[in-house]
Symmetry: D2
Subunit: 379 residues, 4 copies
Amino acid sequence: MNGSSFGNYFKITTFGESHGAALGVIADGVPAGIPLSTEYIQTFLDRRKPGQNIYSTPRKESDLVEILSGVFEGKTTGTSVALLIRNESQRSADYSEIASYYRPGHADFTFDAKYGFRDYRGGGRSSGRETAARVAAGAVACALLDELGIKVCAYAKSIHNHICFDTKDYLAEHYSIEELVSMRDKSPLNMPDAEASARSEEFLNRMRKDLNSVGGTIECVLHGLPAGLGDPVFEKFDARLAHAMLSIGAVKGFEIGSGFGAALLTGTEQNDPFYTDEDGTVKKRTNRAGGVLGGMTDGSDVLFRVAVKPTPSVNAPQETVKKDGSSYTARVTGRHDPIIVSRAVVVVECMAALTAADALLGNLGSKLDHLKKIYTPEL
Amino acid sequence: MNGSSFGNYFKITTFGESHGAALGVIADGVPAGIPLSTEYIQTFLDRRKPGQNIYSTPRKESDLVEILSGVFEGKTTGTSVALLIRNESQRSADYSEIASYYRPGHADFTFDAKYGFRDYRGGGRSSGRETAARVAAGAVACALLDELGIKVCAYAKSIHNHICFDTKDYLAEHYSIEELVSMRDKSPLNMPDAEASARSEEFLNRMRKDLNSVGGTIECVLHGLPAGLGDPVFEKFDARLAHAMLSIGAVKGFEIGSGFGAALLTGTEQNDPFYTDEDGTVKKRTNRAGGVLGGMTDGSDVLFRVAVKPTPSVNAPQETVKKDGSSYTARVTGRHDPIIVSRAVVVVECMAALTAADALLGNLGSKLDHLKKIYTPEL
Amino acid sequence: MNGSSFGNYFKITTFGESHGAALGVIADGVPAGIPLSTEYIQTFLDRRKPGQNIYSTPRKESDLVEILSGVFEGKTTGTSVALLIRNESQRSADYSEIASYYRPGHADFTFDAKYGFRDYRGGGRSSGRETAARVAAGAVACALLDELGIKVCAYAKSIHNHICFDTKDYLAEHYSIEELVSMRDKSPLNMPDAEASARSEEFLNRMRKDLNSVGGTIECVLHGLPAGLGDPVFEKFDARLAHAMLSIGAVKGFEIGSGFGAALLTGTEQNDPFYTDEDGTVKKRTNRAGGVLGGMTDGSDVLFRVAVKPTPSVNAPQETVKKDGSSYTARVTGRHDPIIVSRAVVVVECMAALTAADALLGNLGSKLDHLKKIYTPEL
Amino acid sequence: MNGSSFGNYFKITTFGESHGAALGVIADGVPAGIPLSTEYIQTFLDRRKPGQNIYSTPRKESDLVEILSGVFEGKTTGTSVALLIRNESQRSADYSEIASYYRPGHADFTFDAKYGFRDYRGGGRSSGRETAARVAAGAVACALLDELGIKVCAYAKSIHNHICFDTKDYLAEHYSIEELVSMRDKSPLNMPDAEASARSEEFLNRMRKDLNSVGGTIECVLHGLPAGLGDPVFEKFDARLAHAMLSIGAVKGFEIGSGFGAALLTGTEQNDPFYTDEDGTVKKRTNRAGGVLGGMTDGSDVLFRVAVKPTPSVNAPQETVKKDGSSYTARVTGRHDPIIVSRAVVVVECMAALTAADALLGNLGSKLDHLKKIYTPEL
């Protein structure tokens, strides 16, 4: 099964294992003429890079990106853009122990079940390191969104039971995207609420001493999307977003707008009233829909949340089995994050950007008028 | 954008508007040799059919299915299976009012934004009626799962704050699929808990008097799936499931296993310990993963939940605007369900079956051994 | 394998067997706002319809099309367009003989090899009747091309060794599309050369007496395509055309521009010189490229040819085997065309139109400028 | 448009320009457990490598391949296989002249038309150098075919009017694949006929002096394919092959079996009689079908031919225009092959192998029996 691609129009295909030679991605269907540089992409990778503080794995990777194709004289050419990130930290560890048993919460068992054997070096293809390729690709998507005035911002909404700022109706309506980014970037945990971030740090320090890890949630806002993106049936914008998010290793849930809260609302509470603003634009008074109606963007902010499970690699002893079926007590050692949430923030942002870029391209053919604008401008 | 298809291998493509001539589906990639009859498919459609009790729309549709192709002498032939459901209830209503304004919570506005105009007769392509085609297709998927001993069961887990049986760790571990089906089928609301169902009915009767509607959640179990379905990166089994679920009109959230609850757990709490049972099979002591590890099924039950918003069509007055931008107070009349949850149960089941059928086909090529078994059996 | 779809953007999915209930197609990704009616589609189907003269099968089918979805108030809505053609001529023949042996030149043997059994009634899914669905879909594509001023015309270029008008450099350069259509429509064999058509008719009458059939070639011109359609690598415009053409049952070869003749040319003979015309438009002095350079249309006519094999159903005795392996002498009786070429002309035209419509949509995202024109028109 | 991918199941995605940093490919959907090494892949690349004799460009490229992912302990892991080939010969030439005008027979004009600008260094993405990535990918496909006992062999069938050995009914029926390979590898032009090869060499030497180039044809045989590959409608095995072949830069035509010759045959001449051999296997007396009936392989050799145009880069003066529309006389200098045919032989072979690998995977789900063999072996 060829499951390393995402997107129907702006399509990315990734490769790479945590301890192989390199990771990378081909982004195909990228429109020509978008300004793109290694420096721009590197700023995204640097946000994901390990070892930035005590809350992330001390594994040393500079994650330098090289553009191999598809960019000429500073702009995308319209042909496939290939990006390469060499692995540096391939230390010749002794993997014989990890190769012999199934780590709980990991994909060791399912890899063996599917493929008959596995690359047991540090998670192989199912390592969180795989997301570096997504982030590189997401940067290309963001370069396109930039040109169209569209902004994306994700942040840690909660770490365990420490939750960011009060929200009403599940919305981040009190802050602009610029404010959220600024607040988030002050926190080592990507939490745009100083007080909640401080409490979370304290809690995480305790967890690290207990050799344990914790989960949390990430919230993301897409601002400036035109109305009409997404398709009414199977390729709904939110269905694609859910797909994108659940494809991230540790994500266990997705909700848009009021989300699971909608299960506790009545119709009159859930429905967002329409009104016309002073410029004559149709707007909604609230955004319980999360910016998507009938699977298509409605012009307001797209707002969604994902649930992130705790890092499965914990030092505490855990019951498991070896490949031969005998029982075994595992203590996963090595360089692991005590929490996935904070480093996953840029991954969520990039997958959202890729979903948006894909939908923007997919929507170009929605009506004959669009084709006439491109092909028969004089008529 | 061609968004009316779902599935990469077992691929369905649907068509049809709520008040057009017909709805239907082509299921392509269906293996040859599966027993299939109109009677079998009809049992699925009958579960979705409107007008079965006071909690569903009184619109009269017998939803009779016709097999147009792909079945010969009672078995699928391997070529595309086309299924047709004629619309009966196309009464020549006066749609001039509904055509003129945007119903809150509906796709009227976004359809106009995307396509320039819309089929305003009762929701057109974005009507819940569209799901009849999914259910017909899902029946074909279930016919395949039957042959492989795989079972699917969805049920209403909650209606507003009335929640079914107590669950531990978000799992339905105390009941077998057969028990769940039996309990569910006794409830007019598809709620496998007599007491919760009774309370929900009472609550719904009140809501109907208030001209309002309510939301809820649906839980679904897939039992008997082999380990290894799904792909490690973008086509994770749970990512496909999330896509499938969010593609259903009223669904606002998806979670698998511990789901959003995982955000409040530690690593040692979330990880499911492995053990070997008396038959030598590797199993998990708990199922907080929800049957999927690293995007691939692990052989245990796949268990997930979706959040369903309240029916957006409510009789209560709502603020909105007309196409010309002038303000308008809408009271949506007509034949509407006071709750979507109960009728959506079979839709969730069918989309889950389609996801599983697709993954079963997609996994056939996972290893060389499979190809040798098929192509060089003598070696 | 789901092989009943064609197109990446303007995507069609067909169904139907020669003796099943119906044939049909879903066209998905059709832009909203294209005028479309049953009458328009019917004109295409009528050109393919059997029984129009003595050179086509006397099987009686009126091939009436019904639009089931995707059209509202005379225009496409942007959602999936479903078209239905009921089979009328399902006479309850005795198929026991044909079911028992493999007809030479037919797919009986390969169907059994692939699927384990087959719908043996008149060819099932591999019958030429399958092309009715393609023609219906092609009409939708032509409705789009019409709006953009693009024209398609195919015709019988040769029947056996009777060849239409002299061509230089393998091009139909002496006639306009309008002239070709007018000349073609005067011939019962769709041959735009009265003299060659008369000779072919005489030859065919002889063949019919001999209980035999003959092959020929079809040539097709696409006029008015903008430059830049198609992609530089695997989705070259001519690669997609070749795919489209070889997907037609009896087609055994495809060539574009000078085609196989290019194998006998030198570089200076094959290369088309560029010049600038009086309007400042870059043009080519010749068209040995056939309108495609590097896989992308160059703004000149796209011109290609296909080879069509003789009808495999012949009355003359042929050596073959039964399913049990015993030898058998087949004489295929029934209602068959003595030549496929003439009725396939409209099929070639429709597959070319579908390829062009798909490429027009696929090219919308080729450059950032296109996206800015659609999404940020004010900038 | 994302046109850098080929294959539905065994899917490759390529990148790279002739004068960029590197070329490469991701092969996704490759079954786990296939032996694969850089040495194996290198043997394929060495066959395509420039500078092997006076009939190919003197450009110096060692075309060394690096496996970046998807292979562990000498076997494919089932996840995406990435292959990298660094460009060495990126000499800092002065491209200002070539950037200013449109080379006849090249994609310069169409690139500008599609994307607004182009990478003018030596052809960029439309350079023949792009095929190195196809060959690397094709080697992976061949590694799979090897395991299943399937062989592919292509060779130069004609160079200008110098044609290899006499064939009857357009078939290479007198030689085994091993003989063809052995005869071919003795010729610097990949022509398996010593006499024709000698005449072609003499002819080419003359052409090089005339600063001109020539075309020819390539024939290819696929041996050992199981019956039933390909799909009856749009994904016919030969339609996929035609797509694959026309996607190669210089290919202008494709024919299978009797091909264009079928246009001159009668039904009784074209149809291949079936018989049962001594082992009870159903076989065909002739192979005018070219190994494909109704779009599905019939178990006999698949045999097809492609037409290859002359190298468009010729030193002889040619009429053309500059970007500003002014007329210009071009003399394309630089390192060019006087003939494409010979170096394209391995490209044809690789694209055929990729098509076959894809069809083998696509056919796994053709019948329920296959699924039962994999998923319920005990039943």
